[in-house]
Symmetry: C2
Subunit: 148 residues, 2 copies
DNA sequence: AGAATATAGCATGATTTTAGTGCTCTTTCA
DNA sequence: TGAAAGAGCACTAAAATCATGCTATATTCT
């Protein structure tokens, strides 16, 4: 339906939260407490993000997750691709071929649309995503150099 | 999953097909014969498009559907909105408010993304969609003035 | 008037995706 | 060694999506 899944939404929310926590490790518990999203689901999402090295995990007391790169360098496209796979707009845009390929007259067009949508996601960074909204609760080191 | 539904896909395919048929009315039967998509589903989609006055219907022999406006003036955004409702990217972008609104820190950001995605769809016309792909089977009156 | 073509309307079933959850294991730090 | 925190594992429930059959109504042509 041209919508992100909850996985992506939760993932992005969590990442935005982590972006504000700077270098510190943030536990699932903390995130859940603040954001009020299902814990187990978030845990799964973060595990996937960890596997894809978008975040890094540390176990044990004081552990949790944190970003592996500055929020300015993490595109939504990357996050979304990890959390819901390649191929936006239509399935056939993920490289696989369409079942009705021979009769489909709009394949190329759709691919072009998909490309543009993807570039929207590519140009949008996590920094921008969290910047848009947050009342900037505490000075965040990573967001230092940004225009106000 | 940031994907269009089959309804949208089928709808766009059918519209592209109609765009090539110019002023003539095209029946569901014809479209199905060429495009090999489920008839009943297509019929429903076209009915919706007819209700929204994107196409006009004529019953009886020689009847069918045809575009109510030139393909150059029909944006994908309009079609998609009719076929799968407003609010791309996330549900909360359709004007309704989010369940986790207070805790959601990325609302504004997501809305911005949605806006950009929507403008991609807005800028993409049916004419472009079918132009990208089709080997231009027959000269279509509506497509006359376009660059080659 | 009647036959043929075509859309309109209606309800339902099957499949797929998505969302959500419980419990145990392993790692790490104090 | 105990508490904190992620890792792994399998399943259930709900929602969205896809698909389909049949009948009714409108229109055109003969």
């Amino acid at each position: 339906m041209l919508r992100l899944t909850k996985r992506s939404e939760y993932g992005l929310m969590a990442l935005a939260f982590m972006a504000q926590s700077g270098q510190a490790y943030t536990s699932v518990r903390e995130i859940v407490a603040k954001l009020r999203i299902p814990r187990r689901l978030l845990a799964e999402v973060l595990k996937d993000l960890s596997f894809s090295e978008i975040v890094e995990a540390v176990r044990g007391p004081g552990g949790g997750y944190r970003l592996t790169c500055p929020a300015e360098e993490l595109s939504l496209a990357r996050v979304v691709e990890v959390l819901e796979g390649a191929g936006t707009v239509a399935q056939c845009t993920d490289g696989s071929r369409c079942d009705l390929s021979p009769s489909c007259t709009i394949q190329e067009g759709i691919n072009l649309v998909a490309q543009r949508v993807k570039s929207v996601l590519n140009d949008f960074t996590l920094a921008e995503l969290s910047d848009c909204t947050t009342p900037r609760p505490q000075p965040v080191s990573l967001a230092q150099g940004l225009a106000v």
